[in-house]
């Protein structure tokens, strides 16, 4: 569905939308407390897609959950659409924060987590980041801040797909050793296979049990997951495959 949406829009970021499907599905289908009929319900758990270019993934899940109709997906990136190229909370029900400029979401998540502490509310805040996004200095300002305030209601997720726009993260600007960096900033660090639901659910559960520390889940994923010619190909970070190849893929998936 993500792919069909992107083909309809003729532009967008397929690679980073496909790599994190299982993680976002796990959140919306079993981890998070939320209500599609009340997108602004004050008690809801929050999900911030800091890597906003994966908007098609978020929109597909929100539509499936009933935040808006599946028909809307066809208008992605088109003029006058509810569905902007990057998330816009004023236009799209269920979108928590405007994103598109990487590096900002974790700090915003801190703000929402602090507000929960002030108000004695028990909602949790989830922030999905890209691995290339780890290169933004603000991520580490936020990392320091969240552990200072012992934000155990905050959970970061890093989509560790190894690729950014110009190439491989470890060639463009190495981010390893990533887990030890987060540990050094005093975070609870959990590593999972980003396609293993059992591990993913266990990790979210462990994060919610953790006291006095924020948790980061480093999810090992594959950019362009599920589409053989897109996997591990930086080219498909910001390029949409043609309609024909997508139709073939979708047929294969459906027959599986």
């Amino acid at each position: 569905m993500i792919l069909e949406t992107l083909v309809e829009a003729r532009s967008g970021h397929p690679g980073g939308s496909l790599s994190a499907v299982e993680l976002v599905v796990a959140l919306y289908y079993s981890v998070m407390k939320h209500d599609p009929k009340r997108p602004t319900w004050p008690e809801r758990d929050r999900f911030i897609l800091s890597k906003g270019h994966a908007a098609p993934l978020l929109y597909s899940v929100l539509a499936q959950q009933g935040y808006f109709s599946l028909e809307e997906l066809k208008t992605l990136r088109k003029i006058n659409s509810l569905l902007q190229g990057h998330p816009d909370p004023r236009k799209t029900p269920g979108v928590e924060m405007a994103a598109g400029s990487e590096g900002i979401g974790l700090s915003v998540g801190i703000g929402e987590a602090l507000a929960a502490k002030i108000d004695n509310k028990d909602y949790r805040v989830y922030v999905m980041m890209g691995d290339g996004e780890m290169q933004e200095g603000q991520i580490w300002e936020a990392a320091m801040c969240a552990s200072k305030y012992r934000l155990d209601n905050l959970c970061g997720i890093v989509d560790r797909n190894g690729i950014q726009q110009d190439g491989l993260t470890e060639q463009i600007m190495p981010i390893e050793p990533l887990a030890s960096k987060w540990k050094a900033f005093n975070w609870n660090v959990i590593q999972v296979d980003g396609y293993n639901f059992e591990q993913i659910l266990e990790a979210f559960n462990a994060a919610s049990q953790m006291r006095n520390k924020p948790t980061v889940i480093i999810a090992h994923t594959t950019k362009g997951k599920g589409v053989e010619f897109m996997e591990w190909s930086p080219e498909y970070h910001g390029k949409v495959p043609d309609r024909k190849s997508i139709e073939t893929i979708v047929k294969e998936w459906k027959s599986e």
């Binding site: 532009s11 110009d166 463009i172």
Partner: protein, 332 residues
């Protein structure tokens, strides 16, 4: 100033437009200058393929640095290279630089007057489907408000090349903004070579009113001027304001006194951009009626770039409508 293009040339540009890419012109010019000016260094931030500075990286890998997704680092590293005697070109999308690092640009570059060139691509609403988050409409205002900063805006691929050359050879902090879509050529390389530091180009002469435009709107201004000539018998001057700071004050004052009314057109918020800069000169020297075309203090949205230009009024027809509005007020 005599007009740069002959009526036949303008006709050719409008009837048989030849298109090219500002980004490619930027990347290719860096490669060409790189062999002569060994001090040119290029810094990128994970958008080097898109902005074509990767061309320079392929040719001169030892003078090319990719700092990753880290724009504050991008411009600050470039500042250090400039202080150490290099000619640094830093570039990424305009929403991220200057967007994400005005502090570093102000304090580490403009204040100490460092020789550093920031070239931002994907400026304006013509970015298209990525939407408002990626459509920088405030950069002219922020950059021109910073002391010591030069601000230049090419209108086609050849003026892009020419301005890159001026930036490389002049000392000091510069901001240049280019657009994402391919665009029609306005100048031949020879015509573009007469672009001077701080100068404008009068691409079409006229005496009934003046359009002062920058970037992609210069072409729209030429279309509008022709329409006004054929449909309304108005002879309208068109000035391409390639340098917003310093700005060509004489060209503005002369246009005000000789033609009486001015419409500005830019792919930027009407607050603080080209329109504001022109108005500042006009009111202090030769007040005439003006209209400013730009986005009306609003964010953009997703859509095809052409559709957005129409929806937000950044078109030839809006320019000609505003000229007619001025002429009608004139008569009253």
């Amino acid at each position: 100033m005599a007009q740069v293009l002959s009526p036949e040339e303008i006709g050719d540009i409008l009837d048989k437009p030849k298109k090219g890419s500002m980004r490619e012109a930027f990347g290719e010019t860096l490669v060409r200058l790189g062999s002569e000016l060994k001090d040119i260094v290029v810094v990128g931030a994970d958008t080097t393929g898109s902005i074509k500075t990767s061309l320079f990286g392929a040719k001169y890998p030892e003078r090319f640095f990719n700092v990753g997704i880290a724009e504050s680092n991008l411009v600050s590293v470039a500042a250090g290279l400039g202080i150490a005697g290099k000619i640094p070109f830093a570039s990424t999308y305009a929403v991220f630089a200057p967007g994400k690092c005005v502090d570093q640009i102000r304090n580490a570059i403009a204040y100490p007057e460092v020789n550093m060139k920031l070239v931002a691509s994907h400026a304006g609403i013509s970015v298209g489907p990525d939407g408002a988050s990626h459509q920088e409409l405030e950069d002219i205002a922020t950059m021109r408000a910073i002391p010591n900063m030069h601000v230049v805006i090419p209108s086609d691929p050849n003026s892009t090349s020419r301005l890159v050359e001026i930036l490389a050879r002049d000392k000091g902090p510069y901001y240049m903004r280019i657009a994402r879509p391919d665009c029609p050529f306005i100048y031949s390389a020879a015509q573009a070579s007469s672009i001077r530091k701080g100068g404008s180009m009068t691409v079409r002469d006229g005496s009934d009113a003046t359009i002062i435009a920058c970037g992609l709107l210069v072409y729209e201004a030429l279309i509008a001027a022709r329409k006004l000539a054929t449909e309304n018998s108005l002879n309208v001057r068109v000035i391409d304001m390639l340098s917003i700071k310093p700005i060509d004050e004489m060209a503005i004052i002369k246009a005000a006194s000789a033609t009486g009314g001015i419409v500005t057109a830019e792919e930027h918020n009407v607050i603080g951009g080209l329109g504001g800069a022109v108005a500042e000169i006009v009111v202090e020297n030769y007040p005439v009626l003006m209209r400013r075309i730009g986005t009306q203090d609003t964010f953009g949205e997703s859509g095809e770039s052409g559709e957005l230009m129409i929806k937000y009024g950044l078109t030839a027809s809006n320019i000609s409508a505003k000229i007619l509005e001025l002429k009608n007020l004139d008569r009253k």
